[in-house]
């Protein structure tokens, strides 16, 4: 079977990635279909439960640009998580997770690093963002490249190795053993997106960090409205 699948692997991966994105976009539309309420219930509650962690992370980094950072982190996390979970599906071709094909983790890592630069440019201005890349140490540019490499290799190594182990186990003992391997696969499938997002967040927090200027200090530039869906803590009674 391996020989017949191999030449079509890129198309399968693209199709699977499209399936994952469609499901995620559908879930997003379903969660925001009804007008958002101050006290969430039902689907809105579930969606806010997922997003709250990213909003907290983003607020810790820079309270002014929560709307910029939180969706970025949440998108990365949900896309990688849903892609990893494909490996658990009992459908022959659909069960190839896109993250087990090196181009996809590499693309995600590039998006993460270049997106970090772009966000840094939009928060601090283009000149300051570019200066941050080479000042005070020009080797930071090399650091950014190695971030891309380490993020992508880590994701690919974990998920790809999992798929390899599952295939070998299925060859050795077709009944019973693959179930155990799949159950063990759940651990990297959950931990890797968390790690990817956390590392992106930690790179972002140095890139977005503003030097306290004269007078303004580190004050947030835009205040969130208490009723807006992104201000979870502020709308809640302590």
């Amino acid at each position: 079977m391996q020989e017949t699948v191999a030449p079509h692997l890129p198309y399968i991966v693209i199709f699977n990635l499209l399936v994952v994105s469609t499901v995620l976009i559908g879930l997003g539309i379903a969660a925001t279909a009804r007008p958002l309420k101050e006290l969430p219930e039902g689907r809105q509650n579930a969606a806010e439960l997922v997003l709250e962690w990213f909003v907290t992370q983003a607020r810790r980094m820079d309270p002014g640009s929560v709307r910029l950072i939180a969706p970025f982190l949440a998108t990365l996390f949900l896309l990688i998580f849903a892609s990893n979970l494909l490996a658990l599906l009992p459908v022959p071709l659909l069960k190839i997770p896109p993250t087990a094909y090196f181009s996809v983790p590499l693309g995600l890592a590039l998006v993460s690093v270049l997106g970090g630069v772009a966000m840094s440019a939009s928060v601090r201005g283009i000149g300051s963002a570019l200066k941050h890349l080479v000042w005070p140490n020009p080797l930071q540019l090399v650091g950014e490249a190695s971030h891309t490499l380490s993020l992508s290799l880590r994701l690919y190594g974990n998920i790809g190795a999992g798929v390899l182990v599952a295939a070998l186990a299925a060859q050795a003992a077709p009944y019973g053993l693959p179930l155990v391997i799949d159950a063990l696969e759940l651990i990297p499938a959950v931990v890797q997106p968390v790690v990817f997002t956390l590392l992106t967040a930690s790179f972002l927090s140095t890139a977005v960090h503003r030097e306290p200027g004269p007078g303004k200090g580190g004050e947030p530039t835009t205040k969130l409205k208490p009723g807006s869906p992104l201000s979870l803590e502020s709308g809640r009674a302590q």
Binding site: R154, V194, V195
Partner: protein, 75 residues
């Protein structure tokens, strides 16, 4: 000779790395667990930091895996 190299290269590359990574991970996770039991209120924060540190250690093993695979493919 080729078969011997094919066995030796990944083994000699990966085994020392895995041992070193296991020692590092032991230290990271035991320190994190101690911190969590001492201060359960910041357990979440410590857990995320622990995951990041473990991932950084794990990345080194994966680099070695990739290098071992590349070298083994050349042999």
């Amino acid at each position: 000779m080729k078969e011997i190299l094919l066995v030796l290269i990944p083994t000699l590359t990966l085994v020392p790395t895995a041992v070193a990574a296991a020692l590092a991970m032991r230290k990271i996770s035991s320190a994190a667990l101690e911190g969590m039991t001492r201060q359960p209120e910041i357990a979440n924060q410590l857990f995320t930091s622990m995951l990041v540190s473990l991932a950084l250690v794990e990345a080194l093993v994966i680099y070695c895996l990739v290098v071992a695979l590349l070298v083994a493919a050349k042999v």
